[in-house]
Symmetry: C2
Subunit: 216 residues, 2 copies
DNA sequence: ATGAGTGGAGAGTAGAACTATCCGTCCAGG
DNA sequence: CCTGGACGGATAGTTCTACTCTCCACTCAT
């Protein structure tokens, strides 16, 4: 398969494919002569994976490269790949060094202990969660802190099911790839379903006292 | 309060504040003379809200403007504000017109019916969910479709709690503002906690048969 | 042999989110 | 009352990202 076929198979322009090659997202094809290369099914698959991460997950090209590098490095533990994915998904927020951040950190660590979660120091979710809780406090919204336990409760069966579904897959490369996909697509899907569930829940307590005029 | 004070109070540069004014994210201050304006606490609050939506939620400036316009329009129903928020968060994906999309749509509609959810045609979550499910199928990962019910089950108490927490707040403007904040910050917080729960869950079935060498 | 396609490299582009400069005005401190 | 730093408003410039275009020396199917 040559670059034109690859383009036709995936709907990605030749120019973009070349760009992904330059940026190291896509491994080079096998050279059959100094300026001819052949691509295979793994390139089709990788290209679709790239588009999924970029389009659905909203990852940057640089973030995608990092995630794919972790996917390809077969000496990296699964949860490190997930860490890289999460980092690309959510960024690495700088945790402010103020009262709100300190209180948020305590709130979170208490939760983790109360729930008996096993979370290491390097988990990228921790600073992200702390920053969000601190931001929420700075804005004077106590809503989030009240929901923390509800979130944790909802997450326990969910995370178990997700990890279980992914691990039940056989070869490491498959496991890692569906772990990344599951993280990114799962987050998007969950978020989309959340909107639907919100509408459903709010329609249930419809004509609420403070919801303003409802139309439609 | 003048623009310099506003800048100092919020940590946002004067130039950026002017930019937000130009872009219509921040209402103009009260003019005390043709070229002097005064700003109040509502500007501080609004500026912090903008930064939260942009930094934590990753909303674009244009998307933030749309959300804030919905927040300010007091004749708009709560779920419409949430719809605008979700649209800004997740984008408005174009649903492809192929087999996978059709199957995904059926899958989703079945779920909604099975669960007895009340979701209108215009809910932006629906096309987003369909596109993600279709993408997942195109990549040959059946993991997501198997998790659909788990997601829905986790979401029901969660969405009820979120909507309940937000609606219990009194004035409409407060309700709407915390609804937006809850949607955006809640999504981020949930996602961060999810990473932590994943690590915890995967460490529970540690040394799994296909997880590759674990270090650390 | 020939013309469409190719690999590789560099330059160019469009949009987003600021950032800098300018100008006339204002106003607080001396 | 004078004056220098801040201000409001407008326009232009910058930086970054994710492409997209253009070249050029090949190569390969027809």
């Amino acid at each position: 398969m040559r670059i034109g076929d690859l383009s036709r198979r995936t709907g990605v322009s030749v120019a973009s494919i070349k760009y992904y090659l330059r940026e190291g997202l896509l491994p080079p094809g096998e050279l059959t002569s100094p300026n001819q290369a052949r691509y295979g099914e793994e390139h089709v698959r990788r290209l679709r994976l790239i588009r999924a991460l970029v389009d659905v997950g909203g990852l940057s090209i640089a973030g995608t490269r990092d995630v794919l590098a972790a996917v390809d490095a077969d000496d990296v533990a699964l949860h490190h790949v997930l860490g890289a994915t999460q980092k690309a998904l959510l960024g690495t927020p700088v945790v402010a060094d103020d009262d709100e951040a300190a209180r948020a950190a305590k709130l979170l660590d208490d939760l983790v202990e109360r729930r008996g979660w096993h979370v290491t120091e390097t988990n990228p979710g921790r600073p992200a969660a702390i920053e969000i809780l601190a931001t929420s406090e700075r804005l004077g919204t106590e809503v989030l802190t009240r929901l923390l336990d509800t979130y944790a409760e909802a997450l326990e069966p969910l995370a178990t099911a997700e990890v279980g579904a992914v691990v039940a897959r056989g070869e490491r490369s498959d496991v890692v790839e569906s772990a990344v996909l599951g993280t990114v697509l799962g987050a998007g899907l969950f978020s989309a379903l959340r909107t639907m569930a919100h509408e459903s829940a709010s329609s249930r307590l419809d004509a609420g006292p403070a919801a303003g005029p409802e139309e439609g």
